[in-house]
Each structure stands twice: as C-alpha cells, then as structure tokens.
C-alpha cells in the first residue's frame, strides 16, 4: 500500500502539514504550482502578519526552511495535480511539472491546502470604481506598498492627507452570493491603518464599517491600539459610491453615529476585500470529486468537531480552501489534517 501523503498547495497550511508529517515519521509529497513556496502571503507580498505585525517574509522563511532538504519531504514545485483515482489508502494521482509530462504517484491520503483568492472588486459591479480610479485600491495593493515601507497616492506618487478603508467589500453580500464574513479583513485593515499612521503621522486614516469583527485577543492587539494609540478613526456606516472630484475621490455614505448622510473627500480609498475559493481549490474539488459548499469552498461535513475531513474518505483540507481562515486557523487545521492523513496511511498499510 502507498505510504506517502500528498499535500496540494505550498502556502502556510501546506508547509505546516508537510513539516508535521515529517516530524512524526511520515513521508509527504508537496505539490505547488508556483516555482516558490509560501502561497498567497508570498505571492501577494504581505508585509506584516496580523496581529503582532512581525515580518511575513521572515515567518514564511522559517516555514520554508523546515521543509526544504528533508528526506521525508518530496517537493514538487511548478507542478499541478491533473487527475486522481482510487480510494483512501490507495490513491493514484497524476502530477505534471507545468508543461511537462504527467507522472503517476501512489499516495495513501491527500491534504488539500489550495487556499483562497482575494475578492476582485471589479468582478460584477463597478460600484467603487476599482478599475477606473488608480487611487481606489485593495488591502492587497496597500500591503504591497507597505512591504516597501511606503504609502502613496498611486495616481501621483504623493503623500495622501486622508485615507479611508471600506470594510466588507465582497463579503456579507447577498447580491454577490458571498454571504459569509471573511473573518480577517477587519484585523488586516486595522493593522494596515496602524502601519499607515506610523509611516505618515499627519495623515488621517478612517475605517468605515458595518461592525468591526476582531474576535478574541485581536480586540486589544489591534482594535483598541488602532484607536487609542494611533488615532485611527472608526466610523460606522458603509460607503455607497465613490466619485471623482478634481484630483480627489468623493465618498458618499451614511454617518450612522450622527444619523446623517456624509459626503467627504479622500485621497486614497482601500477596499477591504474578502476571500473567495482559489482556482486551485475549485480545480482540486473537481479532481478529487469532493463536495463544495454553496460558496465554492471545500465542504467539511464533520464540523464543528472535525474541521478537516472532506466528503471523500482519505482526503483532508486545511486552511482557507475550506473557507475564510486566518493563519492561526490554517496552522491548527494543518496539524489536525497531518495527523489524520498519516493515521489513514498507517491504518491502510
């Protein structure tokens, strides 16, 4: 019987699952479609991690170092999983180097760590003019600038006087089909707001929200310090429309605190985009013939007691492939999935 655990996706969850399997004496094959490890945090150039603001690249380097040059881990970079057959304990999967010939691998169990993609704010509606106004950006665009320790108006390279974040873009929206909360955007927006205030102390930074969701310790790791130490201004009320006025952006919304409509000019507007299933997650659901939930993420029928088993025995999921997760969730799920996947291989053997 097959002894290896196949892990699909080399982001934080995949890296952690591979390391865990090796640490407890198993063997893993880690397939990653990009030529580098690190997943979305690497690809999108995350600057600092929530909530402690330590360097994302340093954290990823540590995770990558733990899987590179280990005899128990067979790294397949620039590769994708094409097809799969068989059943728990005895899967046959074909894996190809991008553009190359497919190779057949025998694996006993599978962990999918194919993650999410950021909501595209211009996908169905141009409400916020993301593709029309260079100064309307996303959390991801902001993160890229912050990773270079700068924050400017993309249209002219100048320092912004006023920056606004708009929460829940692409989340909690029945019209878009994304009814769920993406869970991390409140924390990330607050984190980026703190970083902008540190870089540009004269810049006013606003966060417009429906309700801030900074559960657990994020409350006083991010939310309270953002308000109390960094003077980030939180205003309850969501923006309905962004227009161009002169070389600035005119934002229309409701100031629900004061109970009146609000029209205010901003220099940069950051859309707090949520999570959607990545193309890889959708494709792996097809390859392994597993059930998706109504939003296209991988269904985990055993929740809440088993957040990592899928509808197919022997196939597990960890991280944001199973829905909005923060890195802590992803790491915890990766360990749980590693344990189950290795137990499956051993019981089958």
């Amino acid at each position: 019987m097959a002894k290896d655990v196949l892990i699909v996706g080399g982001g934080p969850a995949g890296l952690h699952a591979a390391r865990n399997i090796a640490d407890i004496g198993g063997n893993a094959i880690l397939v990653e479609q990009r030529d580098v490890l690190g997943g979305t945090p690497d690809e999108a150039r995350y600057a600092a991690l929530t909530p402690h603001l330590e360097s994302a690249q340093d954290a990823l380097d540590e995770m990558r170092a733990a899987v590179i040059d280990r005899p128990e881990i067979d790294l397949r970079l620039g590769s994708t999983v094409l097809e799969s057959s068989g059943k728990a304990g005895d899967f046959k999967v074909s894996v190809a180097k991008n553009g190359g010939e497919a190779e057949q691998l025998d694996v006993g169990s599978v962990i999918l760590t194919t993650g999410f993609q950021h909501f595209d704010p211009g996908r169905e509606t141009q409400m916020y003019g993301y593709y029309e106004n260079p100064d309307v950006i996303t959390l991801v665009d902001a993160e890229k600038m912050l990773s270079k320790h700068e924050f400017v108006r993309p249209s002219n390279g100048e320092k912004p006087e006023r920056v606004a974040f708009i929460q829940c873009v692409g989340s909690r929206d029945r019209r878009l089909g994304n009814e769920y909360c993406s869970k991390v955007c409140c924390g990330i927006a607050s984190k980026e707001a703190i970083e902008i205030r540190k870089l540009l102390p004269d810049t006013k930074v606003y966060i417009f929200y429906i309700d801030m969701r900074m559960y657990g310790y994020w409350e006083n790791q991010l939310y309270w310090p953002a308000q109390e130490e960094h003077n980030v201004i939180y205003v309850r009320g969501i923006v309905t429309e962004i227009l161009k006025r002169g070389d600035r952006l005119l934002m229309k919304g409701e100031d629900t605190t004061m109970g009146r409509p609000m029209e205010v000019e901003m220099d940069v507007i950051v859309l707090s985009v949520g999570m959607e299933p990545s193309a890889g997650t959708r494709e792996m659901a097809r390859v392994f013939d597993i059930e998706k939930n109504k939003y296209g993420f991988i269904h985990t029928p055993g929740e809440p007691m088993d957040p990592v088993s899928t509808s197919v025995p022997g196939v597990y999921v960890a991280g944001a492939a199973a829905g909005p997760k923060d890195i802590e969730d992803s790491i915890g799920m990766a360990s749980a999935a590693a344990m189950k996947a290795l137990a499956m291989v051993r019981s089958a053997g």
Binding site: R162, K204, Y206, M212, Y223, W224, Q227, E228, N231, I233, Y234, V235, R236, D255, T257, M258, R260, M262, V264
Partner: protein
C-alpha cells in the same frame, strides 16, 4: 478635517480649531477618552438623553474623530443638555463622555462663546444667591416661571411656601429667602476660592454685570472682615 456639514459658516475654521486644540490640550482629556465602539451604554444610562436630543455617544465619537466642525457644533449646543451626573462612566472602554463635556463647557465659558452665555443666563441669580447668602437656592426662588420643568404642583407650593417652610426642622430658621444659615466666614472663603481657581474670571466671561456686582459686594464684606483688598 470633518465628516460633518459646516453648521457655523460665519466662524472661520482656524478659530474653531484653536478652541478644539484647547480642549484636547486639557490635562484631563486623555483619561476621559479612549476609543468608542458605538455600543450605546452611555446613551442608555443617560437621563438627559431621555428628554433632549442629546447623546453622550456622539460626544465620545466626535472627540475620537477629532472632528473640529462637529466638536464645535456640540460645544455650542449638545454639551448644555448634559446634567453632569456621570452615569455615562459605565462605559466598557473607560470613556467619560461627561468629563469630555466638562472640558468642552469650560473652554466655551473661558472663551465667552455666545452659547455659554445663553445657557448660563439663568444661573446668574443662583450665583448671586450663593455669594450673598451662602446657599444656592432659596424657597422664594421656587416660582413657576423660573422652574417650569418642576411640574404642575410648583405653583401650589410657591403660593404657600411660608407654611411649608414652617414644617421643616429649625436649622432652616424658617426663612424663605435663605435655605439655611451660612457663616460669613464660609462665604468669604468660597469667594477667595473662586478668585484663586478662576471661577470669578469665568463668571466675568459670561456675565460682566454679575461679575461687577459680586466684586462690589464682596469688597465691602472683605473690608469689614479685615482683609486687605
């Protein structure tokens, strides 16, 4: 910077900003304001909010935004609807909206804002009463026109105030022009405290006539008591 419409267009922004800077520079300000998450517990606890268009939550929120236009607007209006009972200090974030109002009011008074003069107009006679008798309200002040908010029974009480008064303990001396007897030394000390702490200056800002009368009256009292004036 503001999110609010400008409701006092005749006042230049710089003038408003200067007042708000004075508010934020107050040494108490930092401990009165942390952050607000709009839970509304302060409004729920606030007696004034039940009777007036007044919200301590809006006060905390405007302050957290450092919104000059909004804070100026509140300084001229909302803050005078607060009864300074500090029920709002049950805030889970540790905010003290009533304390922010104390500071806003003091800055309004120190700078002689018209709203402060209007709001405090009725208190001139209370201040005069304190300085002349040592008690702030006496039974004969209880007139329906002065206290319409005391309800319909105020007329019946004021018509028979001397009779009602006799039913009270003898410490009141059964008078209607004073609440109880206050030693002249106490009045003198109160006046000196008001002088030293700037209360007299504040009275001067909002009611010049009253200030003059008080100084005249107290000059004689101090003279007679042997103080150098």
């Amino acid at each position: 910077m503001t999110l609010a419409p400008n409701t006092y267009t005749d006042i230049p922004y710089e003038e408003k900003a200067k007042l708000i800077e004075e508010v934020m520079a107050d040494h108490r300000y930092g401990e009165h304001l942390y952050g607000c998450y709009e839970c509304g517990i302060c409004v729920a606890a606030c007696p004034s909010a039940r009777f007036y268009d007044f919200s301590p939550r809006k006060i905390a929120q405007a302050a957290a935004r450092q919104d000059v236009e909004l804070m100026y607007e509140q300084m001229n209006d909302d803050v005078w609807n607060c009864s300074q009972c500090f029920s709002c200090t049950r805030c889970p974030r540790g905010n003290n909206p009533g304390g922010i109002i104390t500071v806003l009011r003091e800055v309004a008074v120190r700078n002689g804002l018209a709203s402060a003069r209007d709001a405090l107009e009725g208190y001139g006679r209370v201040v005069y009463k304190i300085m002349s008798t040592g008690t702030q309200v006496s039974p004969d002040m209880l007139q329906p026109n002065a206290f319409p908010d005391w309800g319909p029974h105020v007329k019946a009480i004021s018509d028979n105030v001397e009779t009602w008064r006799k039913a009270l303990p003898p410490e009141t001396l059964h008078t209607t022009s004073t609440a109880w007897n206050v030693d002249e030394k106490t009045i003198i000390e109160l006046y000196l405290i008001w002088q030293a702490t700037g209360v007299m200056d504040m009275i001067g800002e909002v009611d010049e006539g009253l200030h003059m009368i008080l100084e005249d009256v107290m000059e004689d009292v101090l003279d007679e008591a042997g103080y150098e004036t």
